[in-house]
């Protein structure tokens, strides 16, 4: 399971303040803790509050790389911010560009820009592509799958390896009115998207969004994650510091024969 640690994000108050004060210690501790907890990548998101997002992401990247070599997931909807982050990234470690829709009303070419940056980042550069286009986030299964198909075919045309694509079918908060059908739709979409190519693209989700605003967030997140793993999800942006969640991942993967059983199977991510 490719787990992307979500904690270095300007949405969290301590990270927001650390960025504003250029306080390295807070960021480096989060990087180390998430690495020790089993993160395969560390997400890096400056949030919306930073005054100069481009210099903020560069500072975050440099600060993290001073303390660990865990690959980074540069998280921004703005190509210029991603490009700025990439300048500071040690691409030997690998990098994910997180994330791009298929297209936007304001930028028809946004996907191509991300793809090109990922290609330039070398053989370990990947992208997360959202099943979303200029019409917004689809509510049904079929539109998600058809957008994913366009993503895969566009990437293939440009010679981009499908194993360097992470498709994110976009999970919506379950608490939003009428959204309770969405988790089931996401599972069906994962089922189908895995068959779009061979080898299949990776499937990822921004898990915490599912429980946004709900009570009992931790159990909602981990149960859904286990369900999605059983359908072929092989990556997720998560709170790797949530021990119960990590135990759920280890157990689901073991039950799906993705990890060899041992009596200490819960320890595989720590």
């Amino acid at each position: 399971m490719i787990l992307i640690g979500e904690r270095i994000n300007g949405m969290f108050t301590n990270v927001k303040e650390a960025i504003a004060d250029r306080n390295k210690q807070v960021i480096q501790e989060l990087a180390q803790k998430q690495t020790e907890a089993g993160a395969s990548y560390l997400d890096v998101n400056v949030g919306t509050a930073a005054s100069d997002q481009e210099s903020a992401i560069q500072w975050l990247v440099e600060t993290i790389q001073e303390t660990c070599s865990t690959p980074l997931s540069l998280d921004s909807q703005k190509p210029a911010v991603i490009a700025a982050g990439l300048k500071a990234v040690n691409i030997e470690n690998g990098v994910i560009l997180n994330s791009t829709p298929l297209n936007k009303k304001s930028d028809e070419e946004v996907f191509d820009k991300y793809l090109e940056m990922a290609q330039q980042a070398g053989p370990k550069g990947s992208i997360i592509a959202l099943t979303m286009d200029k019409n917004g986030v689809p509510q049904d299964i079929d539109t998600r799958v058809s957008i994913a198909a366009e993503i895969v075919s566009k990437a293939t045309e440009k010679g981009f390896d499908t194993q360097r694509i992470f498709i994110d079918p976009i999970i919506l908060p379950v608490k939003v009115p009428n959204a309770q059908v969405q988790p089931g739709n996401i599972l069906s979409a994962i089922d189908q998207i895995k068959y779009l190519s061979d080898p299949a693209p990776h499937m990822t989700i921004g898990l915490s969004n599912l429980s946004q605003g709900a009570t009992e967030r931790s159990i909602i997140n981990r149960i859904f994650l286990a369900m999605a793993i059983s359908r072929g999800l092989d990556s997720a942006i998560v709170d790797v510091l949530d021990r119960d969640l990590m135990n759920a991942v280890a157990t689901a993967e073991m039950l799906m024969n993705k990890q060899i059983y041992s009596d200490s199977f819960l320890k595989v991510y720590s």
């Binding site: 194993q163 990890q259 060899i260 059983y261 041992s262 009596d263 200490s264 320890k267 595989v268």
Partner: protein
């Protein structure tokens, strides 16, 4: 019909480890041996993805074996009472890349030799050859726990491969191997779940996973080789798909297992061909088969089978 191009690629790799310490690194070995590093299955992927060349470790016993068939005795009769000379012969005449001292003589049911004997044998072999050593206990847990820590101490700093630890007996050898700077062999009885568990147990004691070599138990041709092959393959695929608890290089004990087979040693079997050839053939066939499952170190006995297997390795890994 055009052949489809099959290029499975993997995200993980097998740990690469270097056995033996030369003078510059605090030991007395004249050379080191590096194994592991595979990023694909044998014959799969590009040449750069292949492992380091697998190596042959030749067995030297601490006391003269009483149950070896004639074909083996003939090869070593003049040196079987002197482990140092025996090791020297294996290295100088037969090209052994590693020497595996097998401490059968300390087993209570065999010669029940003590720790002083085992230390003396270790020192003698360290003096007589410059290749890295494997130090392998008698498989009697109680006796091994008494003797192997002393053996480990006698070779301190030499970066030997020492074993074996198992699910029920791992603490004392793991601790001593860590203190003396050696590498560990983790053993499981052809059981992938236990194999992983032993690695986790050693790791929990603080022993680095990068210093472990796995021994899944071996079955010879006709005696369970398909189980041994499958388990080696499963371990390798787990390593290549990123399971760090299974990303170790592997060792097989081909010599002992092959020469237990009746086909290798039964003299009165006219339909089976020459007794002089059968044993070496049995051993070589078993080794070549397991090498294709990705095994990194092969323990062997007969010089003729060693020659055949070396030839195979040189052809495939070049």
């Amino acid at each position: 019909m055009p052949l489809p191009e099959i290029t499975d690629s993997f995200t993980g790799s097998v740990n690469r480890i270097t056995l033996g310490a030369t003078k510059e690194n605090g030991g007395t070995r004249t050379n080191t041996v590096t194994i592991g590093g595979a990023r694909n299955v044998v014959y799969g992927g590009s040449f750069e993805d292949a492992s380091e060349k697998p190596v042959i470790a030749m067995d030297v016993l601490d006391t003269r074996p009483r149950d070896w068939p004639d074909a083996l005795v003939q090869a070593y009769d003049d040196v079987m009472d002197s482990p140092g000379d025996w090791a020297k012969k294996c290295v100088e005449e037969f090209g052994a890349e590693l020497i595996c001292i097998k401490f059968d003589g300390i087993h209570p049911d065999k010669d029940d030799k003590d720790a002083d004997h085992a230390v003396k044998v270790t020192e003698e072999v360290l003096k007589s050859v410059g290749v890295p050593l494997i130090l392998w206990g008698s498989r009697n847990d109680e006796k091994d726990n008494q003797v192997m820590p002393k053996v480990s101490g006698a070779a301190k700093g030499e970066k030997c491969l020492i074993g074996t630890i198992s699910e029920i007996n791992y603490k004392s050898l793991t601790a001593i191997a860590m203190a003396d700077g050696h590498y560990l062999i983790s053993e499981a009885p052809i059981d992938i779940n236990i194999a992983k568990q032993v690695n986790i147990l050693a790791s929990d004691m603080g022993f680095p996973l990068e210093r472990i070599v796995t021994f899944q138990a071996t079955g010879a041709l006709g005696y369970g080789i398909e189980y041994a092959y499958s388990i080696q393959e499963r371990q390798r695929l787990a390593a290549l798909t990123g399971d760090k608890m299974m990303a170790m290089p592997a060792i097989c004990d081909v010599g002992y297992e092959s020469w237990r087979a009746k086909e290798a040693k039964l003299e009165d079997a006219p339909g089976w061909g020459s007794i002089a050839d059968r044993g070496p053939m049995w051993e070589a066939t078993t080794a070549v088969c397991l090498l294709q499952a990705g095994v990194d170190i092969i323990r062997m006995r007969h010089p003729r089978s060693v020659a055949v297997v070396k030839n195979f390795i040189n052809k495939v890994w070049s």
